[in-house]
Symmetry: C2
């Protein structure tokens, strides 16, 4: 008899965990991803803020799975899922499946205004992070150059726009980015520039709800806000972004002139899910059963950010890594039980807690009911992130980098690698 074929779309936390958990199953696994690597997304903001290299937090999927003989890794993009004929369409090829695991993740949600994305990039992939890194570093370079040129002619120059950073959304990504940008503008860049006064930079965190980190306990939200303000971040709560333009961002009728808007608000599932022709929620997530399968087919699972799954109280599970990891493990287990003829059990999420860092030396955490803040939370945060990083080499490199940054306050990877001529000349034009 032919082995059942399990097709897994996406090598993020959900898809990779499912793949690895099927290590000993008597199945043929085909793992398909648009990129060649697994990305440790919780540390992606550190690539965007020049603390880590992409290679520190990403590892080729092939390398991770090289000893698991029942997997084939394919680099490619699925354009549609044909659930009626049990196959996925891969550009010019079709692949039949017995089981399908959709673990495609999400993109940021621009409240239906997708044209905002160009001026307010989100942070989901390595290339997103590199684009944001270039944008931040370029802004400082442009400001320095304008001030230098003004000094040659003894003019005054206004560079506020380049030294204003607006983060939209105060979830973990927004909070951690705001803290990191505040740190590098005030500390890391201090001695590097001759004309920019680092204290002139301004970092603004905008949140639509009434507190930062809305998914955490209220006490921790309060502590996080205090920590952010202490390192110079302006926190605007109950504030909606109404428009994003090339020159800045509108908050209601107020306009903030800035060259640096970073989007960290909301999630929306990819359009691939639509081709499943099953029920989606408003954010495009697939509504799944208690065993994470879709209503129409018990052998098609959707996990992680791509799925809307509910906890025991009927509340949607948050779009965070631990959910994806636990769901990946659960689905692998369920497929195993199916094959062995055992009955399925429902998925239950076990919440181990949540945590975030603010700047260089501050953390907040809520672990198993325990609320921590300050150095202890930072240590816990560092320890857990190193632990969950995949690969000895990566763990080692990240740890070394963190110790380096902690003691020197100098983020090591401040490189602008794209051709900057275009950016510069365009920005320069705006100046006049």
């Amino acid at each position: 008899m032919k082995k059942p074929r399990v097709v897994i779309i996406g090598g993020g936390f959900g898809g990779l965990t499912a793949t690895k958990a099927l290590k000993n199953a008597d199945v043929e696994i085909i793992l398909i991803d648009k990129t060649n690597h697994h990305l440790f997304q919780p540390l992606l903001y550190q690539v965007a803020t020049a603390a880590l290299s992409p290679g520190d937090i990403a590892l080729p999927l092939r390398e991770i799975l090289r000893l698991q003989n029942n997997v084939k890794v394919i680099l490619g993009e699925i354009t549609a899922i044909d659930r009626f004929n049990k196959k996925v369409i891969l550009e010019d090829e079709e692949i039949k499946f017995d089981y399908l695991v959709v673990a495609t993740g999400s993109r940021h949600f621009y409240f239906g205004k997708n044209d905002w994305e160009e001026n307010a990039p989100g942070l989901k992939t390595v290339s997103d992070a590199l684009r944001i890194r270039e944008r931040i570093l370029n802004s400082f370079e442009i400001a320095e150059r304008i001030l230098f040129e003004a000094s040659l002619n003894s003019h005054n120059a206004d560079v506020k726009k380049y030294l204003t950073f607006v983060l939209v959304g105060a979830g973990p990504t927004g909070v951690e980015l705001a803290g990191a940008i505040a740190e590098i503008s005030r500390k890391t860049m201090l001695k590097d520039f001759r004309f920019i006064k680092p204290e002139r930079t301004s970092v603004i965190l905008v949140e639509g709800l009434d507190r930062v980190l809305p998914m955490y306990d209220r006490d921790l939200s309060e502590k996080a806000k205090e920590s952010l303000e202490r390192i110079g971040v302006t926190v605007l709560l109950n504030t909606q972004v109404t428009a994003v333009t090339k020159n800045g961002v509108y908050l209601g009728d107020d306009f903030i002139e800035t060259n640096n808007v970073i989007w960290a608000a909301g999630n929306t599932a990819l359009s691939l899910q639509k081709t499943l022709e099953t029920e989606l929620d408003r954010a495009g997530r697939v509504v799944v059963n208690k065993d994470l399968s879709i209503k129409e087919n018990p052998k098609i699972f959707v996990i992680g950010d791509a799925a809307l799954s509910l906890d025991e109280k009927g509340k949607p599970l948050p779009g965070v890594c631990p959910v994806a990891i636990q769901q990946g493990k659960y689905v692998a287990n369920t497929i195993n039980r199916d094959i062995k003829g055992k009955p399925r059990v429902d998925f239950r999420y076990f919440d181990k807690g949540s945590m975030a860092t603010i700047g260089r030396a501050k953390g907040i955490a809520e672990i198993a009911g325990l609320k921590l803040s300050g150095y202890i939370a930072l240590l816990a945060w560092s320890f857990i992130h190193i632990l969950y990083l995949i690969g000895f080499r990566n763990r080692y490199r990240v740890m070394i980098e963190w110790i380096w940054i902690y003691f020197t306050r100098r983020n090591g990877i401040r490189l602008i690698t794209n051709k900057t001529e275009g950016i510069l000349s365009e920005e320069q034009k705006l100046k006049v």
Copy 2:
């Protein structure tokens, strides 16, 4: 009295060394570069072959110079030099100078066929290296996918084109790239792919002259060739490239079908030099006096790859780092002597030797008349490269990576970070 202003164009080995050597001089230095970082070019081939991260071998110029108070670093592109009015033109601004140091380096020379560059990229900048890395890794991914799809339909597929790598030019860059690509195709990738047989890959090094590393001693050239052949590189000497197309490369009437041509032949100076309106050689290099100044103005110096300077025997100095470094130091010294009213002395190049690595565990070197090869040469090579790397952090990281790769044979940074969809679908079309 106002301090003399020294404008230095380019933060490579020549420009950066000149800047640092003027540390205690009573001058105002303006260092202008198109990128924000100094790049340790001798190790760039290791970024292209996924052994190192860009952050390991590049450091922001501002960071290197942050404590040197007489320097201002400006990110920007000089569009012209006006030697008659003693100023450089920076897009929308002019900067007057008392002394000018042109250290702009070179690009590869395509024998006047600049349209070859698109299909045969060279290796001079970080973005060049990342582009080549993506191209190499993508080729393996495409080959694997084509073989996978063929297996689904029990067809045969020809993927030779994707597994053939052609290096043009057997100078140090070509030789080191050939060795590194041969290593990763045979060793690193061995367990990662299910369908590709690594021994099917073919690496071809093409050289127009009669030996590899033509600037080295003939014995070492012979040893290098043997080492390359031992790890599976095909070396074609006395062979001219006559055309490069999207599908491969013509060597006379022979056509090699390949998706991977990398150009490592010849140097040509940038077009900026033309605006100096002084004598250039055929490769676009500025013909300089014995004190490295141009004929028309003793206060305008040209150094490194941008200059044609001759040794005592009237032979042109090679375009290598030690020449640029020594010239940078010399020019700083000469400016210092000028200011103090001392007479100038001629530049003399002191040749300390040359070296290269072949693959993982082989080196060749010629140091102070001593010819080395094998492990000892590799150790010498590693030691000297670490020593010349700028920044403690970089030295440390590179050393750790090398030890890691030496023992595991796994290059750590095998990331494809650009959107690959475009590349894949285009390549896929070619397949049919």
